[in-house]
């Protein structure tokens, strides 16, 4: 008689323990089912639609550049390095963009060197053309949370960062983005 009671007790306890364990694991499974890396990194939102971080310094042409002086104009900030194949590939597009921008005055292109030497950059620009402000400041990449190269940011005339492009851009892409904001 005693044994049967013990046995029932045991079975009931086993049921509860088993159920408890199962619920915990089911929670884990649910977590995996809904979890996963989200599309838009929250870090990105810390840049987008915020005031642009300070971009101030002396360019490679020994001129002073301050992004706040370009209020009223779009500014395209391009992070690049000569060793990054994507940057090299998109360079002609940037040259075109810069020409168009200087023609219509709606935008200003500025490049920030990422982890490269000044000499490399000068040589590259001499060979491949392009004449816009180039800054060399490692701190800026951190401020913009640059994660890969190339990356291009668009800053609206009021100083807000509106777009972030990871990867190569084309002149058309940039103009379309600018248009999409200017004409709501």
């Amino acid at each position: 008689m005693d044994d049967k009671v013990v046995s029932n007790q045991r079975s009931r306890r086993a049921l509860w323990v088993g159920l408890g364990v199962w619920i915990v694991i089911a929670g884990l499974v649910a977590l995996f089912a809904i979890g996963g890396p989200s599309e838009q990194s929250p870090a990105a939102s810390r840049i987008l639609n915020q005031r642009v971080p300070a971009v101030v310094g002396t360019t490679m042409d020994d001129e002073h550049f301050d992004i706040d002086q370009h209020r009223g104009q779009w500014v395209a900030i391009n992070f690049f390095a000569t060793w990054c194949p994507g940057c090299v590939l998109e360079h002609p597009e940037l040259v075109a963009f810069d020409k168009q921008a200087q023609a219509n005055g709606a935008a200003q292109l500025v490049s920030i060197v990422f982890n490269d030497s000044a000499d490399n950059v000068t040589e590259f620009f001499d060979k491949n053309g392009g004449d816009w402000p180039i800054l060399q400041q490692p701190g800026l990449a951190v401020d913009f949370q640059v994660a890969q190269l190339p990356e291009t940011f668009l800053v609206a005339p009021d100083g807000t960062v509106t777009h972030r492009f990871q990867g190569q851009v084309t002149a058309q892409l940039l103009w379309d983005a600018i248009d999409s904001v200017s004409r709501p």
């Binding site: 049921l15 364990v21 694991i25 089911a26 884990l28 995996f32 809904i34 060793w83 490399n120």
Partner: protein, 675 residues
């Protein structure tokens, strides 16, 4: 042709395994013995299908037949033959194919090995479970992970080849198959466990029958993990061998529960205790292999070496859920019959130390699992994304590891049942002296830091405890004293202790420095002089390799380099390592010379005793092989046991492992009259 043929084999495999599983279950439930025989024949069809699919894929790779989808993904005209062969498992679909092949091989081995017990319903159910698992993997290949998808390729198409990181080193060829032999190997004892639960035969028979399979699977898994660590060190170039990366953790989890299991079963074999523990540990091990596969192939957790492909994820997750549910349900159902026939006896006994072992390994597994999934938890809770990196795991696993070392010293000399402190004191005294001596030696050499020195001391303690067992056994049985589960186990312990000592040294006394060097410049690192001699470029049709020649101490020259793959643009740093038995000097080229100057940025990591990690791994492999060789006593007994049924319940193990110190106590010792 190839896609159709390959896919045909897969469909054949799926059909045969489904029919085999369903038919087998029906046959067992309705008691039709003859059907079981047919089911076994169907098993051979399944095996044939898996082999066929594998052969077709390898042929397709060899022929560079790009009409096969998988070949167009990983094949390339430039890949050397061996890497091409290994390319089969370099990406998702192929890895599932390899898994299925290994599963089929184990299936075949099972049918052959247990041929004489074929009429036993326990074996029948085990086969059914195996076939179900095999059916799942074949199903994966008909659905989301189909390697034989037929594709159209333009003329002159050249495949990209496997991931460059996988082509850097030959060892990459062996690492996955070894791991799979381990993972999949655990399916066999798991099947038997489920079968035993279904049949209600809770005695120890199925444990004994699958003992060697479990040890072998464990051995493969251990070796596979260590191979992976070695590859990470030699090839990936980040300066270490274990990053607590989610994929690495995924392989470690089943190893942890599996190790706990192979120890804990000894208690059940001997005294019939811890039955629920063992069933839970075994089910957990198998479930974790599936979870691990899910983690690496679903993209849920980003990782340096995950196959990021989301399609298989849901399937694997569902399968994991099913495995867990079935296991828990069966254990709960049979809870009553799982009551132990005996009681523990004493807190100071081998049974209790194995229980403590279970606890510690369980805690370690908990830590690893929590750390791996916590970022997901945090994100689900409030959206923050956290990184749980090496420092977390190191700081928790460290103390647990040290405690386990201590247990490794004490448990093997513990007698079964109640142990007197007198016995413990006698057997542990010499090992304790050895431990203290090692600590003193470490201090003399110059080691500092409480946890490191303690680690060395415990390693000495545990090492001499294991040696003591071996010496006693060899004294009694000559060379045969090294074989058998207990003795082979001691050799494995020794290997693990050597590995642990290496870990303590390599982690605690690491030196990591970076320098900018001009051509011809020298620099001193930990007593060695490094001189930057020259730089160079080596171009092949696949790669452009920039290297720097670094001379060490004026004698040997090493070439750390950065290899750029033309096709993908990916740049892979290739480290150069000078290994000696006392330390490793690890060189990485951080910045290559460019057009302007020959300046390089060199990173030099010096770690002591790294080669002990690999040496320890080899000893562990050797020990595992010794453990599966039957010891002398058992060879004689085995002939009598040929006709024994699978579970000789109620009495556990008819062939108990030799009592520790049986040799010593057999010989009369002369004790001095007084101290």
């Amino acid at each position: 042709m190839n896609p159709v043929l390959g896919f045909g084999f897969i469909v054949l495999g799926l059909t045969a395994s489904v029919l085999g599983a369903v038919g087998g279950a029906w046959a067992l439930l309705s008691g039709r013995q003859e059907m079981l025989r047919t089911i076994r024949q169907w098993t051979w069809l399944v095996v044939g299908a898996a082999v066929g699919a594998f052969v077709v894929m390898e042929l397709a790779l060899f022929q560079r037949d790009y009409t096969v989808g998988y070949v167009s993904k990983v094949g390339s005209p430039h890949t050397p033959a061996l890497f091409n062969f290994a390319a089969l498992w370099s990406s998702l679909e192929g890895s599932i194919l390899l898994w299925t092949l290994v599963l089929a091989m184990y299936l075949a081995a099972m049918v052959v090995k247990f041929a004489k017990r074929a009429d036993d319903p326990l074996f029948g159910w085990a086969l059914v479970v195996m076939l179900t698992v095999t059916a799942f993997f074949f199903a994966l290949m008909t659905g989301p992970a189909n390697p034989f998808v037929a594709v159209e390729v333009p003329i002159g198409f050249e495949g990209p080849g496997p991931n460059p990181l996988l082509q850097n080193h030959l060892l990459m060829a062996f690492h996955p198959p070894m791991l799979y032999l381990g993972y999949v190997g655990f399916t066999v004892p798991f099947s038997f466990a489920i079968a035993a639960l279904i049949c209600g035969r809770m005695g120890e028979g199925w444990l004994v029958a699958t003992r060697r399979w479990t040890v072998a699977a464990w051995g493969f898994l251990s070796f596979g993990i260590i191979l992976g660590a070695w590859w990470s060190y030699e090839v990936l170039g980040w300066g270490g061998y274990w990053a607590w990366d989610p994929v690495e953790n995924a392989s470690l989890l089943p190893w942890l529960t599996g190790t706990a299991y192979i120890h804990s079963v000894m208690v059940q074999e001997r005294r019939g205790l811890l039955r629920v523990w063992n069933l839970s540990l075994l089910s957990a091990t198998f479930a974790l292999t599936i979870l691990g596969t899910f983690l690496t192939r679903s993209g849920v957790i980003e990782s340096v070496h995950a196959f990021a492909d989301g399609a298989v994820g849901p399937w694997l997750l569902v399968f994991f859920a099913v495995v867990v549910t079935v296991s828990i349900a069966l254990i709960v159902w049979r809870a009553d019959e799982l009551a132990s026939p005996g009681a523990l006896g004493s807190p100071v006994s081998r049974e209790a130390s194995f229980l403590a072992n279970n606890l510690l390994f369980g805690a370690m597994a908990f830590v690893v699992l929590l750390g791996t999934v916590f970022p997901l938890l945090a994100e689900a809770y409030d959206g923050t994304r956290l990184t749980i990196g090496r420092p977390y795991f190191d700081s928790l696993a460290g103390p647990l590891g040290l405690t386990l070392l201590f247990l490794m010293a004490v448990a093997p000399i513990m007698p079964w049942g109640r142990a007197s402190t007198e016995v413990l004191s006698k057997r542990l005294f010499v090992p304790a002296i050895a431990g203290v001596a090692v600590m003193a030696l470490a201090l003399v050499i110059g080691a500092r830091g409480v946890s490191s020195v303690l680690g060395f001391g415990l390693a000495g303690f545990a090492g001499s405890s294991a040696l003591r067992q071996l010496v006693l056994s060899v004294r009694r049985h000559r060379l045969w004293g090294l074989t058998g589960r207990t003795n082979g186990g001691m050799v494995v312990h020794l290997g693990l202790i050597v590995l642990a000592a290496g870990l303590v040294a390599a982690e605690g006394y690491r030196s990591d420095q970076s320098f900018t060097l001009e051509l011809g410049q020298s620099v001193m690192v930990e007593g060695r002089t490094l001189t930057y001699l020259e730089a160079g470029i080596e171009e092949t049709e696949r790669t452009v390799r920039t290297f720097a020649a670094i001379e060490i101490d004026g004698t040997s020259i090493y070439h750390p380099s950065a290899t750029a793959f033309r096709a993908s643009g990916q740049v892979v740093p290739t480290p150069s390592v000078k290994s000696t038995i006392t330390s490793d000097l690890y060189l990485v080229l951080l910045q290559v010379p460019d057009r302007d100057s020959d300046t390089i940025q060199l990173r030099a990591v010096v770690r002591p005793l790294v080669s002990w990690l690999w040496g320890g791994g080899v000893i562990m492999a050797l020990g595992t092989m010794l453990a599966v060789i039957p010891s002398r006593r058992k060879r004689h007994k085995q002939k009598d046991d040929q006709q024994a049924s699978i579970d000789p319940a109620p009495d556990p193990d008819p062939e108990p492992d030799p009592e520790p110190d049986a040799g010593a106590e057999a010989e009369p010792t002369v004790e001095p009259a007084d101290g």
